[in-house]
Assembly symmetry: C2
Homo-oligomer: 429 residues x 2
């Protein structure tokens, strides 16, 4: 009889309980697949008496996750508490210090401390795995680290926050403004306690920074992710973009360019008929482009007890099978410090301007754009309820963002601009 792999599970929220249930319900299946039993030895959570939808009576209980991490009757510390610092970090450090492998769903902790944790674990010959930290049940960390390991990765893109995608698609389908759908989402319990983690793009930015480290062999540099949330996306822009054949997504993009590593998590337009454009509701999608493989698209549930626990168990099973791949796909000490790209690669942009409806207004704007090197691919002028205002949509040719911003900054001086102009990048997918 082979030795069982013994887990200590810290954090018994939906994902923790989901993980416990898979271990309990699929014990035989998992043993067939790994060749050894996987058992839970001990668990930990803040509140022992809380009613949980699983039988935990046969596991040792620890109030303190650090004590759990230090137990010598566990082989793998499964960290499902969350939070970049505090208990999760303390306990993970304790697990590494006492020679455990670690499986975690904690994107924030890894985005901020992943380099140090990986170095510490690898120095002791242990592994940290985090499939559940990125895009829920989609096996994207595995696809990137292993499935596409023969590729020079060119670009990683993704819609990796289901709440934002829910809000944006609901705005479009129901024709509702951001504030109203945000409130709906809050009432449905879709938002983090600090909603800015979702709608500010921070959570998705954490995930992107982890994928970028694997893809480009660079140290995780979340600080260098250009973050822009969805709070300023208007229903007008969603509608106008749709008229032009696009949808607006909170899109993460990481690519290595001649100017350095570009990482951004910002609202972008994507073609409505592309896989990313067609992604509705809370589903996640990650697109990986490699020099040999071309474009691979992965789609699935990005959150929820089942999908996230599925990813946790995939990591546990890999450890049980003996996989010892380093955290970020190569030894942490070999990861290089990326030079952050100061600016984004040039791209077409969507511009929405409201102009005074008088002769020559458009000419003045076009002149400024031309002078700043912003060339126009397509343009539409719309009727407006208020006859003194002429909404104008422009799709530019490939242009650096700086040139767009500079051109927009000159528009007020034309005297024909009404309100704030809107500029959104169009990502070619």
């Amino acid at each position: 009889m082979p030795e069982p792999l013994r887990l200590g599970v810290a954090g018994l929220g939906t994902v923790g309980i989901g993980t416990v249930k898979i271990v309990q319900q699929h014990a035989a299946l998992i043993q067939r697949r790994t060749g050894r039993p996987i058992v839970i030895t001990a668990v930990s959570a803040r509140n022992r008496t809380k009613n949980r939808d699983a039988d935990l009576s046969c596991y040792a209980w620890e109030d303190d996750p650090v004590a759990l991490a230090r137990r010598d009757d566990i082989d793998v510390f499964v960290e499902l508490m969350g939070g970049a610092d505090g208990s999760a970090l303390d306990a993970t450090r304790a697990a590494i210090a006492t020679g455990k492998d670690v499986v975690t769903a904690n994107k924030a902790m890894l985005a901020l401390h992943g380099q140090a944790l990986a170095e510490a674990a690898e120095a002791k010959g242990h592994v940290i795995r985090f499939e559940a930290a990125v895009a829920g049940g989609i096996p994207v960390v595995k696809a990137l680290t292993e499935g596409l390991a023969g590729n020079d990765i060119r670009r990683v893109m993704g819609v990796m926050n289901g709440t934002c995608n829910y809000i944006l698609t609901r705005m479009e389908s129901a024709g509702l403004p951001y504030a109203e759908v945000f409130e709906e989402a809050r009432q449905l319990g879709y938002l983090e306690a600090d909603p800015n983690l979702d709608v500010g793009g921070i959570d998705a930015g954490h995930k992107l920074s982890l994928l970028a480290a694997i893809a480009f062999g660079t140290r995780v540099s979340f600080d260098a992710v250009r973050l822009e949330g969805i709070g300023r996306v208007s229903i007008d822009d969603i509608r106008r973009a749709a008229d032009m054949g696009y949808r607006i997504k909170l899109l993460g993009v990481a690519q290595m360019t001649g100017r350095g590593l570009e990482q951004r998590m910002t609202p972008c337009l994507v073609p409505a008929d592309s896989p990313l454009g067609q992604l509705q509701g809370g589903t996640n999608m990650v697109v990986i482009e490699g020099d040999s493989v071309g474009q691979i698209v992965l789609r699935g549930a990005g959150a929820g007890a089942g999908p996230t626990a599925s990813a946790v168990m995939s990591d546990v099973i890999e450890i049980a099978r003996g996989s010892r791949i380093p955290t970020f796909g190569q030894p942490a000490t070999d990861l290089v410090e990326a030079v952050p790209a100061g600016t984004s690669a040039p791209a077409p942009h969507y511009l929405r301007l409201e102009l005074a409806d008088k002769p020559g207004a458009l000419a003045k704007v076009a002149t400024v754009l031309g002078e700043e090197g912003v060339s126009i691919d397509r343009m539409r002028q719309y009727a407006h309820a208020d006859a003194t205002v002429a909404p104008v949509l422009i799709v530019t040719h490939k242009t650096a963002r700086d040139a767009i911003d500079h051109a927009l900054s000159r528009l007020p001086a034309t005297g024909v601009l009404i309100g704030e102009p809107v500029a959104i990048r169009i990502e070619s997918v």
Copy 2:
């Protein structure tokens, strides 16, 4: 300096040369990712003097792949010759007999001999990996075997023959009949030497049978795959299906049911706005459904030198990293013989009938359908250039295929049926 992993590459067609190029061009990258160099020691192909787009001068040459497989200066035998039997099988057996790991892109060989080969390899502690055999560059074998290993797999579906999908989407977009697009595909070099491997669904059926073995822990049973090619799909049906919101795909489905293991590779209707329905051209897509993860969709290039070589290298890299997962995700000797499901799970069906345009014709048909327990969800009658013919489309409620076939067999006796009725399953995706 760690020991290099030494490859012997048999077969120097596009995939073989693609693999050689990755080894040559990404040596440093791959070494960073695996911790050891990966080198090619020897190669083999039928024609040594053929002009190939790669420098092979530093590799030993073997005319005979069996001799290559037996060399004691290789660790991994990379089989890229193709063909279910003959040299590929002989050489793979020789590689296993002489203690090599095997990486292969050969779906036909594994579909027919995978069980015996896996048992032989595993008895000696060696592995066979075949990511490249299924859906080209998409890391689907890895996703199923490892990424979703904590799931009870409920269903695996896929469009896994790019040529068929090209033909079907080209028929729709150009409005051309099957025979014409088939001829185009032949001239473009998209078809196998024996085109029935593609359009008869055999190649895709091979792939499905391999995924089913992993998903359900069963012995590969290609013989039990219900195969129906695309040769009888008409442009009429493609158009009518589109009218009803569907597209026709050569869709593989494997699922474990109360009646046994159901495996089929047949034309099916899928909703036009689903990921499968939106799949255009030669791209492949695999959909995996697990009890915890829900639905995961994987999309990418299903063929071509780069994507297939990417998959080959992913397997090589996993071996270099020390992965020893059994061929089908659990020891071959543990795989169970599946009872094949005699019939498919009930599903809605699309029926196209041409009726004599006279009073009572539709009533007669509806009566027969009703008597056979085929209940109608939607129906449309179309005008026809020939006023004596009334084309009728029917979407049924969930019905067993047997009931459909039985009802259709009774229609000639009504005296109102013109020509052959068409019935195509609608798969809920």
